[in-house]
């Protein structure tokens, strides 16, 4: 008789024991796949949240007093081509989405009714991408030349359809089409205007200058800020890096949360399931001692006996791995909808995880059955076959 047929017949005969072993694989598969899929979704979610929250690293000229930066206009500026030079450096990979910004307070802006307000002007340079790194979607403001985005508080003073006008340092009135009226609650820009950098430089007479670079720091195991600082200062020693920790930490904590739990829960669940499987196989061997004794008496080799035990573990591991993959994905989708705001609809089965499931679980379950299988080969056929029951 084909040994595989014998394995399948036995597997179907001892349904409860086989089902429990299958269940252990399915549980291990479900937990592993669900947590892994959710951790990947968490990474994507974090990326999207970060896009919402904005850039988390600010690069200023060394010695910039941040209190002054936000309150007065005498902070030092530096050439805008610093941004391009940083992006062009092949050793510079700890920071992405480099956006050169000119940010100044404008104390006496006159609204169309003639009232004077203190507003903040932002000039955004096109985001610089490192060419040697994989391309990414831009995060910063994308303001076309000749147009502006107006903050919500400031927009209240301008009739829709009217242009935004401002007096330049040369005494001329500059007029810009309002491309967007921004919604409320976006921080300092609520009382400000976003320009294309070149336009603002012209208004202020600061051609070629910026006073800040905003960027997104990588999540590096040896520390975000340290890595970014080292890389920036290796290229421009006159710049320093400040981190917006609340944003950065929120990002990192969320991203690492799933990984942290996954790193503990996945091995724990798999190990527990493997131990249960090992014990069930041990019990199975004890129940089958006479069958195994008979096979020995019939001249079946040690390898044949090992095969019938380990093949059973392989079949259950494979079936459980496939089932676990699908139930894991269903679980991830179910909980993902509850947890993730932006990426819930993006949670889809990961093909590489499927390959891992069909390779890893049969292998692990074969390992779990290995000691019981070796014990089976050591069964004393004479003793078991002569026992009465």
């Amino acid at each position: 008789m084909n040994p595989l047929r014998l394995v399948i017949k036995e597997l179907l005969y001892r349904k409860v024991s086989s089902f429990i072993i299958l269940l252990t694989v399915v549980i291990a598969g479900t937990v592993s796949v669900a947590i892994y899929t959710l951790s990947k979704a968490s990474e994507n979610e974090t990326r999207k949240i970060m896009r919402e929250q904005g850039l988390n690293l600010y690069i200023f000229p060394k010695g910039t007093n941040l209190i002054d930066f936000y309150s007065v206009n005498n902070t030092p500026a530096f050439p805008e081509d610093y941004v391009d030079k940083l992006a062009a450096s092949k050793t510079f990979d700890a920071v992405r989405h480099l956006t050169g910004i000119l940010q100044v307070r404008y104390p006496d802006w006159k609204d169309p009714n003639g009232s004077v307000h203190q507003i903040v002007l932002f000039g955004y340079k096109d985001e610089a991408m490192q060419r040697f790194l994989p391309p990414q979607e831009t995060m910063g403001f994308d303001v076309e030349q000749g147009k502006v985005h107006v903050g919500s508080l400031l927009a209240r003073n301008i009739i829709p359809g009217d242009p935004f006008t401002i007096k330049g340092s040369d005494g001329r009135i500059h007029s810009f089409e309002i491309a967007r009226r921004l919604e409320e609650g976006r921080g300092m820009i609520d009382q400000g205007v976003a320009f294309n950098l070149a336009d603002l430089q012209e208004v202020l007479g600061m051609q070629g200058k910026i006073n800040k670079i905003e960027a997104l720091g990588c999540v590096c195991s040896d520390g975000r800020i340290k890595n970014a600082r080292n890389q920036v200062q290796a290229i421009f020693s006159d710049l320093e890096v400040t981190e917006m920790t609340s944003i950065a930490d929120a990002r990192e904590n969320q991203r690492l949360m799933m990984n942290k739990y996954g790193a503990f829960i996945i091995p724990f669940v798999i190990l527990a399931c493997l131990i249960i499987t090992g014990l069930l196989f041990y019990q199975n061997i004890m129940v089958r001692s006479r069958e195994i004794g008979l096979l020995k008496a019939m001249g079946k080799s040690t390898y044949s006996i090992l095969f019938i035990i380990i093949a059973k573990a392989f079949i259950l591991g494979l079936a459980g791995g496939i089932l676990g993959f699908f139930t894991g994905n269903l679980t991830a989708e179910y909980f993902g909808k509850e947890i993730f705001r932006f990426t819930a609809s993006d949670i889809t089965p990961l093909r590489n995880v499927f390959y891992y499931c069909i390779l890893l679980f049969p292998l692990l379950w074969m390992l779990a059955s290995w000691i019981p299988a070796l014990m089976a080969t050591q069964i004393d056929a004479a003793k078991t076959l002569s026992q009465e029951y």
Binding site: L6, L294, A297, G299, A381, A382, S386, Y389
Partner: protein, 218 residues
Amino acid sequence: MIELKNISKVFTKGTDVYTALRDISFKVEKGDFCSVIGPSGAGKSTLLYVIGGLIHPDSGVAMFNGRDIYKLSNRDINLYRSKHLGFMFQQFHLMPYLTVAGNIKLAFNGKNRAEKIGYYLEKCSLADIKNKYPSELSVGEKQRTAFIRAIISEPDILLADEPTGNLDASNSDILISLVKEYNKSGGTVVVVSHDPGISRYANRSITLEKGCMQLNHP
């Protein structure tokens, strides 16, 4: 064919020592029907398993066709069991998840398998129940299934351990007649039993008492 020379076997369990076989020597020739008789605990089954290569004696030599069974490699001892021996047990030891036909197939992968199995199933009146599982069989049917499984690969020797121990008189007669028929067709039989009546079918009979050979009727 089989020759045992000064076979001894002692089992120990904790401080208890039990001598199962003491200095046993005898020969079984091809075509013999050899019965080994004795009360429970006399060492009959131990002797059978020594011949079957399943219990290594403490001393002495067990030969099959001039070769010491216990000096064979693992591969050769497996071959010895699969090609030259057929086992029958008092408890039948049928695989519970295989049908009558499946249990027989387990022991035989040779040519004309279906025809041969069909022939023996007819002969043993099991053809109608070949697709039944052991739990659905009577004890007589179980033992006949075990008998076919033991002889289907046409082994040289049939080793039977109390084959009628669980059978009623009528089923015992049927089984013994099947074993006799196998013996007549050239097969060698070694049967152990506590029932002295079995020796009337044998041309060679041994009686064991507390591991020692009492009588040997050539």
